[in-house]
């Protein structure tokens, strides 16, 4: 019931504040979509614009999927000759896309979290020319960090779309912090202080069972990009095409991570991971069993909806591992892209273009609650009145002093998987960090050569 109430109150709130903005956006956009459509009509000419079908695949189901469907419907309202066929592909969206592409039957558009893996293998259409001639898309309106997700080899291959704020914040269970007598005005700014906090928060019984985990370090490592920004060293340089896993910074990162494994024993950390599977946030944290953990902008909403009612959570920057006293912030997003092989590239671009408008993002948000991180859209929302703590993820974009996006790495999926496994192996003490990083560096470099050769 509580869920219902919250959803209702959020909706009511939107109706009040959102209305004016929506109308403003709608009027602003109506002419904007027109010139592009005009081009098409001029080209196709008299026969009343022939009907075009576009397949568009995204990851989300449920409420998130409804938001996508609503956004597509809105697009068709503006462009009656284009029928959208939105489809939820779930967690296997990449797999489904690859299989369809290989079989010669790709969708027109797909929404993933970065472009480089497909762009690097010739599966996407570059959109720089479209962006340049567009009167709708304004690159200035995107967060610079989000734009990194569409890059590969000096060109842009899509646009940030549908969802994206910050993907790295340190969440603390305020109830536990207060019980432990910690000063929430002096949050940890380096990893030593983080250890002190973890020590004060953790609770281990006489049998060695972890009743409260002080700091769940794994969250930082959700993506290697998180460590990139924390350590101030990009794991992959998209301009020189070089990996930096063999750097001191990443060796240091693994040591930091291991030091948190060692606090309670690697097996306990691994068990938390196993217990988390299929869930967005550590389930024990929902039950109040983790003091500190990290998560993206979806965490506040998820906690508000799923955690015990009496629990409160606060959010802050993750410590700077580079010792420069900066506030590191990883800003990920989703990106929509056009597949090479689409029979209606112009129409697909029209949709892509439309995703940049406040009107579209407002509609998606109204239905699904997904927040797109374009500057104008964030400004139109009153973050502080949404889920408690969500505002950290928007202010983080402006107040973070080292705000980076995702690496434009064509082997990002491989790097992600392998680095995560390596982190665990180091945590268990079965692999030497230096040696593991060296192997990872070589493996990725080999794979990169294949991409660059082709």
């Amino acid at each position: 019931m509580r869920t219902q109430d919250q959803r209702l109150s959020r909706r009511t709130f939107l109706k009040v504040t959102g209305m004016g903005v929506t109308i403003a956006a709608a009027t602003a956009c109506a002419p904007a979509a027109a010139p592009q459509a005009g081009d098409d009509e001029a080209a196709s000419g008299q026969p009343a614009a022939e009907q075009i079908d576009l397949d568009y695949w995204y990851i989300w189901g449920g409420q998130g999927g409804e938001g996508q469907v609503a956004g597509c419907d809105l697009f068709t309202e503006h462009n009656p000759h284009i029928t959208m066929h939105p489809l939820t592909a779930g967690g296997v969206i990449l797999d489904k896309t690859l299989a369809a592409f290989a079989a010669g039957d790709p969708p027109d558009l797909v929404d993933l979290i970065l472009c480089a893996p497909l762009a690097g293998r010739g599966a996407l259409i570059a959109v720089d020319d479209y962006i340049e001639s567009s009167s709708v898309v304004d690159l200035e309106n995107y967060q610079p960090a989000h734009l990194e997700a569409v890059n590969w080899a000096g060109e842009r291959w899509g646009l940030p779309a549908n969802e994206g704020l910050g993907w790295l914040g340190l969440a603390r269970n305020r109830n536990l912090a207060q019980e432990a007598g910690l000063d929430e005005d002096a949050l940890p700014t380096d990893f030593e202080e983080l250890h002190a906090w973890a020590g004060a928060l953790e609770e281990i019984d006489d049998d060695g069972n972890v009743q409260v985990l002080g700091m769940d370090i794994r969250g930082i490592l959700t993506y290697p990009d998180c460590w990139s920004v924390v350590m101030g060293k990009r794991y992959f340089d998209g301009e020189t095409f070089e990996y930096n896993f063999d750097s001191d910074e990443f060796a240091e990162a693994l040591q930091i991570s291991k030091s948190f494994y060692d606090r309670v024993g690697a097996e306990k950390i691994a068990e938390f991971k196993a217990a988390q599977e299929g869930q967005p946030i550590p389930s024990p944290s929902a039950a109040g069993k983790v003091g500190l953990f990290t998560g993206g902008s979806w965490t506040p909403g998820s906690l508000a909806l799923n955690a015990r009612e009496d629990l409160e959570f606060g959010f802050s920057f993750v410590p700077d591992g580079a010792g420069e006293g900066k506030s590191p912030f990883f800003a990920g997003t989703h990106t929509a892209m056009i597949l090479n092989g689409s029979e209606n590239v112009d129409a697909a671009w029209q949709f892509l273009e439309f995703t940049s408008t406040d009107e579209y993002n407002r509609r998606v948000y109204d239905v699904s609650g997904f927040i797109m991180g374009t500057k104008s859209f964030i400004e139109s929302l009153d973050m502080s009145s949404l889920y408690p703590g969500l505002d950290f993820y928007t202010t983080g974009l402006s107040e973070g002093t080292r705000v980076w996006g995702i690496a434009s790495d064509p082997n990002w999926y491989l790097a992600w998987d392998e680095f995560l496994a390596l982190e665990e192996e180091v945590g268990f003490g079965t692999t030497d960090p230096g040696e593991g990083l060296q192997n990872l560096q070589e493996k990725l470099t080999t794979e990169l050569a294949k991409v660059l050769d082709a």
């Binding site: 797999d95 690859l98 290989a102 691994a270 082997n411 491989l414």
Partner: protein
């Protein structure tokens, strides 16, 4: 005979020959699914011998096969045997044993994580009753595979039904004859029941083996292959290479090695089966 098996022959020619040959070809190429495959000869096969993650996955899979298959067949047989007694409620009981297969794996997986949780999980609470401090099941590289084997035992409902169907077919006259000869219950099971269900045992063993070599969903959903790759099974690693890491050629060479290995195991099992499987139809 050809007329009877023609549906399968059509299906085989239509949907298997071409995919099989194509995947064999892919295994000699570098293929990322997005660009045309590039012929590289035996490179993939050679690289596999040096890939420590691959060899680790082979070991994990062999472990899983060796423990889960025989134990699974045994468990299924015992349950079917019990169900075949004239128990009251047996209709309900049959359904209950089948239910774990019907319940979606997402629900099953969450439940088992709770059962295996070392702090407050069901299993360790039960063990504590008899004074044993249970391990951290899914968190420990030593216990993660046994955990998945235990869970597999609980998904034997399909084999139970097959054994039940087989037990239904055991002629009652055989038991009567054995009784007249003065055989006790254990001897009747050993000399009548088991020989009569050997075709079902062979079926369960073989399909169990083939499925266990390809085990995927349990690790995919529950452990993601961890901790420290202790549950990274063969097909999980293959799948990730093919559809996540853009190495379909490499994945195809893995598939063909697996294919070869399973064929060898199956041939051996079939050859030996002549000695212990009893078919009424050939008698």
């Amino acid at each position: 005979m050809l007329a009877f098996i023609s549906p399968w022959i059509l299906g085989f020619l239509g949907f298997f020959v071409y995919p099989l040959l194509l995947s064999l070809y892919y295994s000699f190429t570098e293929y990322n699914l997005l660009q045309p495959p590039k012929f590289v000869g035996l490179t993939n096969y050679v690289n596999l011998t040096e890939d420590s993650h691959y060899l680790n996955a082979v070991g994990n899979t062999l472990y899983f096969v060796v423990f889960s298959v025989p134990l699974g067949v045994l468990t299924a047989f015992i349950i079917a045997f019990l169900l075949n007694q004239q128990l009251r409620l047996r209709v309900l009981l049959r359904m209950i044993f089948y239910i774990p297969i019907v319940v979606p794996i997402s629900a099953t997986a969450i439940l088992w994580m709770w059962i295996f949780n070392s702090n407050w999980g069901l299993l360790n609470n039960l063990l504590a009753l008899i004074g044993i401090q249970g391990p951290s099941w899914l968190g420990s590289p030593t216990w993660s595979k046994p955990s998945l084997v235990i869970m597999q035992l609980w998904l034997v409902g399909g084999s139970v039904l097959i054994f039940l169907a087989a037990l239904q077919d055991v002629p009652r006259a055989l038991y009567d004859a054995a009784m007249v000869d003065g055989a006790n219950a254990v001897r009747r099971v050993w000399h009548v029941t088991i020989p009569m269900v050997t075709p079902a045992i062979l079926f369960s063993l073989l399909t169990g083996l083939i499925a266990a070599f390809q085990t995927f969903a349990n690790a995919w959903i529950m452990t993601g292959g961890g901790p420290i790759r202790s549950t990274e099974f063969y097909v999980l690693y293959l799948y990730e290479n093919g559809f996540r890491f853009f190495r379909m050629g490499y994945a195809s060479s893995m598939a063909w090695i697996l294919f070869g290995a399973v064929v060898v195991v199956t041939v051996i099992l079939f050859r030996t089966s002549a000695r212990w499987v009893y078919y009424g139809g050939e008698g």
